[in-house]
């Protein structure tokens, strides 16, 4: 794939803009359009956050000015929401960890060894990315009910591996490719085995890439709603599912829902800023030829 996504260290290559394009009017129009697009993107999010800060009796209030309060957040922390937040952290973290441990060596092999089934495995990884979630959910649900993994963070971590493992194998390959093979060869001449050369030389060089991969795995697991909706009840309920629990009898508890939504969204936004460069190649894992 072309462009900045794959090369972790490629600088932005902006092409010089011919001055004839830049009539003042055009520039002004462009800026106005950009502003409009920006408002389109940001307004809905800002609105959610401000609802979470409104006092309870004013959640649906008309006034634009109000005294912000953290009441809804406080209420969340006194409820079971905290527990579901932790469940999200644990299941996403666990799945990310296992995917890295198992997937990184495999990615290295895929990168360095040309074997016959290589193309088939790549196709396979791609097809797991394409398959609709419902196709995984039904068999996993039926299997989990037999072996008692329903409503456990373990079960959730396992199903998150279905996409995380493929993601790691794909992402890490491109990082390994950027490591000059001569470095490994030098180590092996010094008597290192293949895997010890990998551990000593290659892996440290790709540490930033690994961190980016980990963050992507975490985000994708963290964002999951569908699997958690079906595979958890009480013990392992994750934060995204807990949010819809506020659709309640006395009307929806908009304030709490907004606060919960804001809390679930914050880590993702922070992480996004960190891994922006690799976001797209993560999302299209393994499907683009280069």
């Amino acid at each position: 794939m072309a462009g900045e996504q794959l090369g972790p260290a490629l600088p932005f290559e902006l092409q010089p803009e011919p001055s004839s394009w830049r009539a003042t009017v055009a520039a002004a129009l462009t800026n106005a359009a950009l502003l409009l697009a920006l408002a389109f993107v940001l307004f809905p999010i800002v609105w959610l956050v401000q609802i979470s800060l409104r006092p309870d009796n004013d959640a649906l209030g008309y006034q634009l000015l109000f005294r912000p309060t953290l009441d809804h957040y406080r209420a969340l922390f006194e409820s079971q929401f905290l527990r579901s937040f932790l469940n999200s952290v644990i299941s996403s973290g666990l799945s990310t960890f296992v995917a890295l441990v198992v997937g990184t060596p495999a990615a290295y092999v895929m990168c360095r060894w040309r074997f016959r089934a290589r193309g088939a495995i790549a196709m396979w990884i791609l097809s797991t990315r394409m398959a609709p979630q419902i196709a995984f959910t039904i068999p996993f649900f039926l299997a989990f009910r037999q072996i008692g993994l329903l409503d456990t963070v373990w079960g959730l971590s396992i199903i998150y591996l279905t996409f995380n493992l493929a993601l790691v194998i794909w992402m890490m390959q491109s990082f390994f490719e950027s490591v000059p093979i001569s470095l490994e060869e030098a180590a092996r001449i010094d008597g290192c085995g293949m895997w010890s050369a990998f551990l000593r030389i290659t892996l440290p060089l790709t540490a930033p890439g690994m961190a980016a991969t980990a963050v992507l795995c975490f985000i994708f697991s963290w964002n999951d709603f569908f699997y958690a909706l079906i595979l958890t009840r009480t013990n392992a309920m994750t934060a995204p599912v807990a949010i819809i629990n506020f659709m309640q009898y006395e009307g929806w508890e908009w304030g709490k829902m907004a606060a919960g939504g804001t809390l679930v969204m914050l880590p993702v936004i922070v992480f996004t800023v960190l891994v922006r460069k690799w976001l797209v190649s993560g999302m299209i894992a393994g499907s683009v030829k280069d």
Partner: protein
């Protein structure tokens, strides 16, 4: 997939080396088998049964293996759901490509500020989908929506879009476009950045205006990227779930009941596991056929080199 693999210096990999490679690869391959291949086979097996928990033994009853597939083809709700799916997928892909292209062109300028701005434009796409759904539930609920209020204050009240059969699907498509146009934008932006200078310069020397420049020079370069982005959005649009679950639950009536959602209700509201599996099998097959067809049409040179 033909990555340009750096060739190892040793041309004949000895047995020991092969074993070492295998030891790194096998755990992942085995795990992938358990995680993806086994469920796929099981899904297909279940789809051949009338499996539902209220009929004992039904999960292993293979007496009429095609009943679910035959039943689905006679099920008006299922057929309708496919049509709804097509409408939603096609409209959102088109909207997202156009909007993504537009914003990408706007952002494709040399400026530190714009570079920072790009990250802001990514936010909708990385938001937890349930949060995106919640946001749009707020914006679409007349009682609390700032947009509905604004329109009412301007003397042009609009009735709820998500409870009106004529607008519900388009309201969802709009929200989906908000959520996912950053994806197409990002891919197109990346492609714009590797458009070579020479043809642009040459065209300008020939006196091409901005529109001609875009249409005849830039677009051909970025078309493969657009196709890839569209393909991905098309496939992912089939998975759209939280928006529909939170905004309409497939309603009003069945106006927004896409196939994925229908399979979900069959499997997890009524526990028709066999029937839902059959739908899931068909859905998966549809996705694969779709990506294969588009992939083949575009050929190996679809994108990049």
């Amino acid at each position: 997939m033909q990555r340009s693999v750096p060739r190892p210096a040793v041309s004949s990999i000895d047995r020991q080396e092969q074993l070492a490679y295998l030891s790194g690869l096998l755990p992942a391959v085995l795990l992938l088998m358990v995680l993806t291949l086994a469920p796929a086979i099981y899904l297909f097996v279940v789809s051949l049964t009338p499996g539902t928990p209220t009929i004992p033994g039904s999960l292993t009853d293979f007496s009429d293996p095609t009943q679910n597939y035959v039943g689905a083809l006679q099920d008006q709700q299922f057929l309708d759901s496919v049509w709804v799916q097509i409408k939603l997928s096609v409209s959102t892909v088109i909207a997202q490509v156009l909007l993504g292209l537009g914003v990408a062109l706007l952002l494709h300028r040399r400026s530190r500020f714009l570079q920072a701005l790009r990250t802001v434009f990514l936010i909708p796409m990385v938001l937890p989908p349930i949060v995106a759904a919640l946001i749009w539930k707020i914006l679409y609920t007349p009682d609390i929506s700032p947009l509905h209020r604004l329109l009412a204050a301007l003397g042009a009240p609009v009735s709820s879009l998500i409870t009106n059969a004529d607008t519900a699907l388009w309201a969802i498509a709009f929200a989906d476009t908000w959520e996912w146009f950053p994806f197409t934008m990002l891919i197109i932006l990346a492609a714009l950045q590797v458009v070579p200078d020479e043809p642009i310069e040459a065209a300008k020397v020939d006196g091409a205006g901005p529109l001609q420049l875009f249409w005849y020079v830039i677009l051909p370069f970025i078309r493969p990227a657009i196709v890839v982005a569209a393909l991905f959005r098309l496939i992912d649009s089939i998975k759209a779930f939280p928006l529909i679950y939170v905004l309409t639950s497939g309603g009003p009536g069945t106006a927004t009941q896409v196939t994925n959602y229908y399979a979900f209700t069959q499997a997890f509201n009524y526990a028709y596991w066999g029937y839902a599996s059959a739908i899931a099998v068909m859905l998966t097959a549809g996705v694969f056929v779709l990506s294969w067809v588009i992939g083949r049409r575009q050929g190996a040179s679809a994108y990049g080199r």
